[in-house]
């Protein structure tokens, strides 16, 4: 297997919280590789460290020790500016609570990663964002502010936004946790389809065993260790 197919490679990643005196280790030496195009569920009991692991993979948090490679590139020595750039280009996020920016319309929210990359809005971004929102079934909601959208619709916007910069990896932390079963199924289906269409790698944290079993790969975390 070629190194180039490794989107993410974690080697012996540890994370401790707290400083003077009382430190608790939340992740105890995680080794994990995500390949191009994989669709992986990350499951585990509450407090097992799923969100922590996701944030570390997403370059939002530094591990206490260990190596994280994004597409073969060691991120340990990169300064904050470079990490931010890499994050913008390589990683899309979908969070449990949608996390859209309330002051901006659905369309503008989807354009945001592109505007941040290019420094300003462009017609091309608008086109791409429109296409993505159409893809997630929101062609008629382009100019709606998040407050005027349902939970499921907001999560679709968030997915479209995560796809906007066409990143090789999308991290989703309980993307359906806040939705009813029907809406959760829809969202999950959407993620699955996007994965097939674009070959984007997905790592999805979920509590829902029903959904987890529909993923091609399942990683289980218990007490900060990968058990399966």
């Amino acid at each position: 297997m070629s190194e180039m197919n490794n989107i993410i490679q974690l080697t012996d990643v540890r994370k401790q919280y707290g400083n003077d005196g009382i430190t608790t280790e939340v992740l105890h030496g995680i080794d994990l590789t995500l390949l191009q195009g994989e669709f992986t569920a990350l499951i585990g009991p509450s407090g097992s460290g799923k969100s922590t692991l996701l944030n570390i993979i997403g370059l939002l948090e530094h591990p206490t020790s260990g190596v994280i490679r994004v597409q073969g590139r060691d991120t340990g020595t990169l300064p904050d500016v470079e990490l931010t750039k890499l994050r913008g280009r390589s990683i899309g996020f979908v969070f449990q609570f949608h996390h859209l920016i309330p002051a901006f319309s659905a369309l503008e929210n989807v354009m945001m990663p592109l505007m941040l990359e290019d420094g300003r809005p462009t017609p091309a971004q608008r086109e791409r964002a429109t296409a993505l929102l159409t893809r997630v079934g929101l062609a008629d909601r382009l100019d709606f502010k998040p407050a005027k959208l349902s939970g499921g619709q907001q999560q679709r916007v968030a997915i479209a936004r995560a796809l906007a910069a066409n990143p090789p990896l999308i991290l989703a932390d309980e993307p359906t946790g806040n939705l009813d079963t029907a809406a959760a199924d829809e969202i999950f289906k959407l993620l699955y389809e996007v994965n097939l269409e674009s070959g984007t790698t997905f790592l999805i944290v979920t509590h829902d065993p029903r959904l987890a079993h529909r993923c091609r790969r399942v990683v289980e975390l218990v007490d900060g260790r990968i058990v399966g």
């Binding site: 944030n55 002051a103 990359e117």
Partner: protein, 406 residues
């Protein structure tokens, strides 16, 4: 539009109440500053105008005794005679025509006028009054002191026969236009002139003492043939009079006295007035800045989730900082525009209510574009500086904390 601007403006638009309060603070602050500045500027300007209405900006006089002796060392006789006569004789500027030409060449000088001034008596019948002879070149002198505008009767026609005197002297001597007056000095020289004009410069002492005659007549009467006693100068920027005066003195070897020195008392008054006004403005600016800072600090805390999301999507710390600095700057700029309008309105209203009995405003209001530009600049910079602490704070926000704590 740059993404920083887009985000800054949208955040401002979204935070309606907060933006309103920040803008309100800046508007009122700038309003007070504009009001105060235009009032004080107007007041000071009218005081200065009144004072300088009858004065040159700089008066050039012959150098002191020692300097004069150095100029005429060729004859010991002349020097001893000079010393003997020092007490009575007016000193004269040597080669004054050449000095005048030199002065006129300087770009900051707008007008130059020679003057032969000295004491004399004005005699009419049995009435004798002590007066100040003002020997002038009328065309040059009126460019420094606009005598024709002070004229009550007749015209400002100064010739070998015609002269102009003040209203009070005319009354004391009982003369009207066309009457003759004899001018006689202490050493017995005399000339007779006809009153061609009667003026009122608004200062009684000058109305009582000034008698305008030609340079030549004054030179004859005061025994200064070929010389002048001083050279009046006006300059483009009257507040530079002191500095320019010093330069002119160095260039010509004469002494220079600026209107600021002549009116030192007035200058102290004006300066302390300005100083207290600056102090008020300073504290207004400081409190406006505090207002902006405290509102933005709250806004940063409220926006921490958005900031976290933006950071996760690849927004750099630097950009986050700029977004909040811009908000401060925009509030400062827009507030200063509103405040300028408010201040202008206030001061115009104030001036229209406070009037002299004759209907002229007590406070001549001065609204200058320069003042508004400065207000806008200061308010914008203040807004940006006030936003510095909140902006740094926003840039330091940990995206994880913002994203985890929903």
């Amino acid at each position: 539009m740059r993404i920083e601007w887009l985000l800054a403006l949208r955040f401002l638009k979204e935070g309606r109440a907060q933006t309103f309060f920040m803008l309100g603070g800046v508007t009122m602050g700038v309003g007070v500053i504009v009001f105060l500045t235009s009032l004080i500027t107007g007041l000071q300007r009218s005081i200065i105008e009144k004072t300088l209405g009858t004065q040159a900006h700089v008066v050039m006089r012959p150098p002191d005794d020692e300097a004069r002796r150095i100029i005429t060392p060729d004859s010991t006789l002349a020097v001893s005679a000079n010393v003997e006569r020092r007490a009575q004789r007016l000193s004269s500027i040597l080669q004054w025509q050449q000095v005048m030409r030199e002065l006129e060449k300087r770009p900051e000088v707008t007008a130059v006028s020679p003057l032969v001034a000295g004491p004399s008596f004005a005699i009419r019948g049995s009435a004798t009054k002590s007066v100040a002879l003002m020997g002038i070149d009328p065309e040059k002198y009126t460019r420094i002191v606009p005598m024709p505008s002070f004229l009550k009767e007749g015209e400002f026609r100064i010739t070998a026969n015609d002269a102009a005197i003040g209203t009070d002297l005319a009354r004391e001597l009982g003369v009207t236009l066309g009457d003759k007056i004899r001018l006689q000095t202490a050493d017995g020289r005399s000339e007779t002139i006809t009153v061609a004009g009667i003026f009122d410069v608004g200062i009684r002492d000058l109305n009582r003492r000034w008698v305008f005659i030609t340079l030549r007549s004054a030179q004859n009467l005061l025994d200064l043939v070929g010389g002048v006693s001083s050279i009046d100068v006006t300059v483009r920027d009257l507040f530079k009079a002191e500095v320019i005066g010093e330069q002119l003195a160095r260039q010509t070897g004469l002494t220079a006295e600026s209107w600021m020195k002549t009116n030192a008392q007035l200058m102290v008054g004006l300066k302390s007035q300005s100083a207290s006004s600056y102090m008020i403005q300073f504290f207004v600016i400081i409190s406006v800045a505090f207002g902006i800072t405290s509102v933005l600090v709250v806004s940063v805390i409220q926006k921490s989730r958005e900031v976290g999301i933006l950071r996760a999507m690849g927004c750099s710390r630097r950009r986050v900082r700029h977004i909040f600095l811009l908000q401060g700057g925009v509030v400062g700029l827009v507030g200063s525009l509103l405040g300028s309008g408010l201040g202008a309105l206030l001061v115009t209203f104030f001036a229209s209510t406070a009037k002299n009995p004759d209907g002229t405003p007590i406070f001549p209001v001065v609204l200058e574009p320069g003042m508004f530009l400065i207000a806008a600049g200061v308010a914008t910079v203040t807004g940006i500086l006030a936003a510095a602490a909140p902006a740094v704070r926003a840039a330091k926000l940990d995206p994880v904390v913002a994203i985890r704590n929903v």
